[in-house]
C-alpha cells in the first residue's frame, strides 16, 4: 500500500467565502499582511494502485468544475 495525500482547493477565480472570512478575521487577531487566503480539503489515504488516484480525484474526491486537486505521494 502506498500512502498518498490529496489537496483540494477552490479553483482560482471562484469566490471562496471561507477563505475571505478567515482573511477578514486575521487582522483582529493581530495577524497583518496576509492575503489570498483559501480554504480547501485534505484527504489522506492508502492505495494499492497509485496510478488510479487521478481517476479517483476526478470522479469523487474533487469536483473538477469548481476545484483543483494535487496528489502528493507520502
Amino acid at each position: 500500500m502506498a500512502r498518498a495525500r490529496v489537496l483540494i482547493r477552490p479553483k482560482e477565480g471562484i469566490l471562496d467565502p471561507q477563505g475571505k472570512a478567515v482573511e477578514r478575521a486575521l487582522p483582529a487577531l493581530g495577524f497583518e499582511g496576509i492575503e489570498h487566503v483559501h480554504v480547501g480539503r485534505m484527504v489522506e489515504l492508502d492505495v494499492e494502485d497509485p496510478a488510479r488516484l487521478a481517476e479517483l480525484c476526478e470522479k469523487l474526491l474533487a469536483n473538477p468544475l469548481i476545484e483543483d486537486y494535487e496528489i502528493q505521494a507520502l
Binding site: I14, L15, P17, Q18, L60, L61, N63, L65
Partner: protein, 225 residues
C-alpha cells in the same frame, strides 16, 4: 403515472415530496437508495436533505447509489426528473445538470420564503401552464450550499437555450447565485433542479400552494401520452 421519490440515508424532505406528488392525483412511492430497478417509475423526485451526510461535498456520494444509476437511465430515456435542494446538488454532481452549488456567499444557512420567477422555453418545467413570465411563485428556501455557479460561457449557453428554469425575484437572491439563477434544466429539458422547496408550499396552512404548480408541471410531462 407513478412518481418515485428517492430516499437516501440523510434525506429529510422525502415525505413532503411524496405528499406533493400524491396531490397531483398520481401514484407515488418512496424509492430506497439501494433499489436498482425503477422500470415502473414514470417521474422521479430527488428530494432535499443531507444524503450520506453530505460528506466530501453535498451530493458527491449520493450520485454513486444504485438508485441514481437507474435515475440516470430514466433521464436519458426522457423521463422527467425533479431535483430539489440536495437533489439539485446530486443531479449536478451526477452530471445530469450543468454547474455546481457552492457555499452561500455570506456563509450563513438561509431559511426564508421567497419569490421565484419561472422562465425558459422548457414548457413542461420552466413555465407552469398558463403562467406569464411575470408570474411569481412564493416558495421557501433553506440551504447552506445553494450558490449556483457555472463558467460564464456555460451560463450564456443556458440562457440562450432557455435552460434557466427559475430565477430569484430581483433583490431576493439569498445565496449569491450567478445571474440570480435558482433552477436549471438539462439540454433536453426533462431534468430540472432548483434550490427552493416547492414541496413545502403545497398547503394553504403553510402560506402558499405555489409549489404544487411545479409538481403539476412535472406530472404533465411524465403522464403517458
Amino acid at each position: 403515472m407513478i412518481w418515485g421519490v428517492l430516499q437516501f440515508p440523510g434525506s429529510c424532505d422525502e415525505r413532503d415530496a411524496l405528499h406533493a406528488c400524491s396531490l397531483t392525483g398520481a401514484e407515488a412511492r418512496l424509492v430506497w437508495h439501494e433499489e436498482r430497478d425503477l422500470d415502473e417509475i414514470d417521474a422521479v423526485v430527488v428530494p432535499g436533505g443531507f444524503s450520506y451526510g453530505d460528506y466530501l461535498r453535498a451530493g458527491a456520494v449520493a450520485r454513486f447509489s444504485p438508485a441514481m444509476e437507474a435515475v440516470a437511465e430514466l433521464a436519458a430515456a426522457g423521463a422527467p426528473v425533479l431535483g430539489i435542494c440536495n437533489g439539485f446538488q446530486v443531479l449536478c454532481e451526477a452530471g445530469l445538470l450543468p454547474g455546481a452549488l457552492l457555499l452561500n456567499e455570506h456563509l450563513r444557512f438561509v431559511c426564508r420564503q421567497l419569490d421565484l420567477i419561472p422562465e425558459g422555453s422548457s414548457a413542461e418545467f420552466g413555465t407552469p401552464e398558463g403562467a406569464q413570465v411575470s408570474t411569481r411563485l412564493s416558495i421557501p428556501a433553506k440551504h447552506g450550499e445553494g450558490r449556483y455557479w457555472a463558467p460564464p460561457e456555460t451560463l450564456d449557453g443556458l440562457e440562450a437555450n432557455g435552460q434557466v428554469a427559475y430565477r430569484y425575484a430581483p433583490g431576493q437572491n439569498p445565496n449569491g447565485s450567478a445571474r440570480d439563477i435558482a433552477g436549471v434544466t438539462n439540454e433536453a429539458g426533462n431534468v430540472v433542479g432548483l434550490m427552493p422547496h416547492p414541496e413545502h408550499a403545497v398547503d394553504p396552512l403553510t402560506g402558499s400552494t405555489d409549489g404544487l404548480r411545479v409538481f403539476e408541471a412535472v406530472a404533465a410531462a411524465g403522464a403517458p401520452a
